[in-house]
Symmetry: C2
Subunit: 257 residues, 2 copies
């Protein structure tokens, strides 16, 4: 049987340790092509590049690695997927995996996530797609603990197919391997960020702001990704790109237009 | 009664004619504060600025305008809303309106839309929010035809409240006023972009790509925003930021984890 073709991308950039770990796991499953941003793209949401041209370069980051094709791209994660599908891949991939992100993309973070935007972009094109994130922002984080789980999730996705119109948002708790209790399918927890801006003045007397904030969980449900992560599970949230709030259409039809 | 406080923003930048039109309509409804990007931010999706500081400047674009406060911001549309809420507004706004975008944000375009990301950001903070877009990319487009409809939608939203967890995505067809048949509440049509990359070589011999593409409607439903727009209606899609595909959780629970 032909090996599956796996597109690997991320938002932390082509040199990120999380991407390297994901490549090494995917190599056990299929043929891997990497198309990833040439610089970090965290918090890029579903941005695409409309006003500037995109540059892409074939490269080899890991000199010991087997014969896999790697390309950097000057654009966003969504751009990487578009360019991969249209220009760089030898054929349509069987699956697209994005990550492993250095930091959480659970609950409301999915909205801001470049990692997930790459997966969603593939999903829009009808390609099974999964975003992986480790709840640890450290660049030297330990990505080894979830290897077997990631292997399982990707092989299950290839075997079962991911339901149409859906991509998977997988978050891994910052725990030792022996502490991880398993995988839980969840819903996205209600949460937001309580922003605080740190206002400063530059040497020319101009004010500027650094965005900081605290995560605020607004959801006590035990079926959420936040609950799963806090209780030692890897969370899997099916994530859709039909954003319609179908349940409120009826209510809006009572408005006096 | 106190007049409502209205936060106006967009993604085309603080000088855009569509923003100017939206300000002029909102001035009839309440007290207006403008916080908008200092440069165009189209296609920014829900990007936020994490790695650089934000600059903001109080300014006056329209010298004839009444006494309204306007601020430019060096960040994305989502940044503008965060900065407005935390730093610039005198109090929590009663509503946030974004636009009028120069170009469509119907169907799958909502995913890439900076206009809608501003509205969604306000929605996450629990503030009623609406994104407005005109299906005409021309910078000199005629924004007058939909004035009365926009007025109606915003006043209805203030009166009825927008259902929790939802923001409105309003698209206006490129038609004369007399040709517009009314307002339709819709769902987001299934569609995608068939990308084509225009590959070129720069004077230094380096390849680069321009993203181009064709919109591909994959939905024949007569309850969609694309149908409404093609048939002379203004489309209103309730848009949510809980991205969970609740209907597939059961199926995923049959996977062999």
């Amino acid at each position: 049987m032909e090996k599956p073709l796996i597109l690997v991308t991320n938002d932390d950039g082509i040199t990120a340790p999380g991407l390297r770990m994901l490549i090494s796991i995917m190599k056990k499953i299929g043929d891997v092509v990497v198309v990833a941003p040439d610089s970090p793209q965290s918090g890029m949401g579903h941005a695409i590049t409309l006003d500037t041209a995109l540059f892409s370069k074939k490269m080899k980051i890991d000199l010991d690695s087997d014969n896999i094709d790697e390309y950097s791209c000057s654009g966003t994660p969504a751009d990487c997927v578009k360019l991969a599908l249209q220009e760089l891949l030898p054929r349509r991939p069987d699956i697209c995996v994005s990550g492993i992100n250095h930091g959480s993309n659970s609950s409301i973070n999915v909205i801001y996530s470049g990692t997930m935007s790459a997966a969603v972009e593939a999903g829009i094109e009808g390609i099974p797609a999964i975003g992986f994130s480790l709840c640890d922002y450290n660049w030297e984080a330990d990505f080894t603990q979830a290897q077997d789980y990631i292997y399982t999730i990707v092989t299950q996705a290839l075997e079962n197919g991911i339901p149409k119109g859906t991509v998977l948002n997988v978050n891994i708790p910052k725990l030792l391997k022996k502490e991880i209790k398993g995988i839980k399918v969840c819903r996205q927890a209600k949460a937001n960020w309580k922003e605080k801006f740190d206002k400063r003045t530059n040497p020319m007397g101009k004010d500027y702001y650094w965005l900081t904030g605290e995560f605020e969980l607004l959801d006590k449900g035990e079926d959420t990704d936040e609950w799963a992560l806090a209780n030692g599970y890897i969370s899997v949230v099916p994530t859709q790109f039909d954003l319609t709030a179908h349940h409120v259409i009826q209510e809006l039809n009572t408005w006096d237009f």
